[in-house]
């Protein structure tokens, strides 16, 4: 009896288990749709938007949100509240794919935005829905060096001089990381160097990287707090903040050439249609293109896409040659696959010599 009882329990337990599994999946989908169902007949006088963005844009969007909320209410009478979420760019993209109800995404790279689009949440052709290929601002990678630039770092080739240590995050896990890599690569090939020369250059460069932090903020901590390295390859806006916070201990150096980073913005069609928040979401992103929005963008050290505003702030944005990713590969996807992906150039750098 004991044994039969035991078996009965087992069978019972496992059926409960499978029953539950089936139920769970249906529950998950129903709860997803329940949560997404618009708040019973949508009140037109208030709407909440969620902007899912990457790490360093915190201060930028905070100011944009404040100004936009005021101007939108004045124009339409609708009270809009904007919530922000920040994190590593592709982590954020995965969250949206997995069901985070973003109305707009403002991520670091097209790789992440496109990953969401591939899941059907953002309609194909989104890049052309907003002005300037959905780029209200661009950015780049610049150098931060110790006070007075003791190692005399002015240009990319200076990075591989003996004794120079470079801090930049892991290209495998960080947007800042792979953009630094693309920049270094482009600094050779865009100036007419061959693929072999570029490979040699990046190999030497990464040999002189003592620490590969997993993300941009980690690298900043390593460089600033732990005082490791002579030069930090950072986002332009992060570099500006870093230098300002260091109060004279650090200097910023603009290399003559660097990559044009393209943090696209996009409306998450799947979510705004369900939440009926499309009008507000579109107005929100378009606001960033207005003169007022572009001024805020410039203030936070992102390069405004509006030429006039960019000119006005020319002193803050030294003119350097910004090359597009298409000059080193077909596009971002191709570049990532060739250089960073499994078996790419970056992997070969660390192959132990036999």
């Amino acid at each position: 009896m004991k044994r039969s009882q035991f078996i009965a329990v087992l069978v019972l337990g496992s059926t409960a288990l499978f029953g539950c599994k089936a139920q769970q999946t249906s529950e998950a989908s129903s709860s997803a749709s329940a949560a997404s169902a618009p708040e019973p007949p949508k009140a037109p006088e208030s709407v909440t938007l969620l902007n899912v963005s990457y790490d360093p844009t915190r201060e930028l969007w905070r100011e944009l949100n404040e100004k936009f909320e005021a101007s939108y209410e004045k124009e339409t009478g609708t009270k809009v509240t904007i919530k922000q979420s920040h994190g590593g760019s592709s982590t954020q993209a995965r969250a949206v794919i997995d069901g985070l109800e973003a109305d707009v995404v403002t991520l670091a790279s097209i790789l992440d935005t496109e990953a969401i689009s591939k899941k059907g949440l953002i309609n194909a052709g989104w890049v052309d829905k907003l002005p300037n290929r959905s780029l209200p601002y661009t950015s780049t990678i610049v150098f931060v060096v110790r006070k007075g630039n003791p190692k005399g770092i002015k240009d990319w080739p200076d990075l591989v001089k003996p004794g120079v240590e470079i801090v930049t995050p892991n290209p495998k896990t960080s947007g800042n990381g792979y953009l630094s890599f693309f920049s270094a690569w482009g600094s050779v090939v865009v100036r007419g160097g061959s693929r072999e020369e570029a490979t040699k250059f990046v190999t030497q460069l990464y040999k002189q990287v003592p620490v590969l932090d997993s993300g941009a903020r980690g690298a900043t901590t390593t460089f600033v707090q732990k005082k490791i390295g002579d030069v930090h390859l950072a986002w332009e806006n992060e570099a500006q903040l870093e230098v300002r916070e260091a109060k004279g201990d650090l200097d910023i150096v603009y290399p003559p050439i660097s990559i044009r980073a393209e943090p696209h913005v996009a409306i998450v069609d799947g979510n705004v249609d369900r939440k009926k928040s499309r009008a507000a979401a579109e107005a929100y992103l378009k606001y960033v293109y207005t003169d007022e929005g572009q001024e805020i963008v410039a203030k936070h050290h992102y390069r405004p896409s509006n030429e006039a505003v960019l000119k006005k702030h020319a002193a803050d944005f030294p003119e350097i040659k910004l090359f597009a990713v298409s000059e080193i590969a077909k596009d971002f996807f191709d570049a990532h696959k060739q250089f960073i992906g499994e078996g790419g150039v970056f992997d070969s750098i660390y192959k132990p010599k036999k």
């Binding site: 009896m1 329990v9 409960a16 896990t173 620490v211 901590t221 732990k226």
Partner: protein
Amino acid sequence: MANVNRRVLPGFSLTLGYSIFYLSVLVLFPIVACFVRAASLSFDDFWNAVWTERARAAYLLTFGASFVAAIVNLVLGVLIAWVLVRYNFPGKRLVDSLVDLPLALPTAVGGLVYASLYVESGWLGRFLVPLGIQGAYTRLGIVLVLVFVGLPFMVRTVQPVLEDFDPESEEASASLGASRFQTLLHVIMPALYPAMITGFALAFARSVGEYGSIVFVSGNMPFKTEIAPILIVARLEEFAYGEATAIAVVLLIISFSMLILINLLEGWSRRNAV
């Protein structure tokens, strides 16, 4: 069938049913999901994802560092448990609660603190680095934080056993003419072995899964200080879910076989104790 319920308390079927149910929901489902996901890859893709030279270096480091850290904890943990159980001293309560701190502290904080202590400009690093001891961004750093996160598991498993240990057996041993060392080796230690092995297994398993602290202290250099969980994150960044879970499955399989081995060892030592 004269078998009347021999147990004192009723409810065996109910409790077993619930146990299986909860274990399934909390542990089995996520693991099964992992396997299902990884199974979506073809065998070749799976193999190419999990058995690269770089991945092998990472597995070796993850398990090697965890093993070394667990060994260190074995010595340190028993020592601390011994001191806490056998002696009274001012501040004992405080020391006792300090042991649990690594459990409460987000491990990322632990990693950051260790890294900044051991870099050349850090409090400890400024003395150690000139001696050639690099505690930050090396394998040594990884072992250090793993000792940190594993310590409570060791201490808390050994401590209760020591507390319950009957002083009379030590007295008996002494009165029979055993030296202190013999008493320790033949009377006290055998009683502790099962708990030590359990503590070792817990500390080891905890270390294999550790991510937060290591990324900050290791420097993540491929082939040198890159642990396997970093590879998982790297694959996720490429939206390669299948490959990422494939690596996770390999970690699971290795961990599980090691835990089974340790469990067998524990059973064996329990049978041979006393």
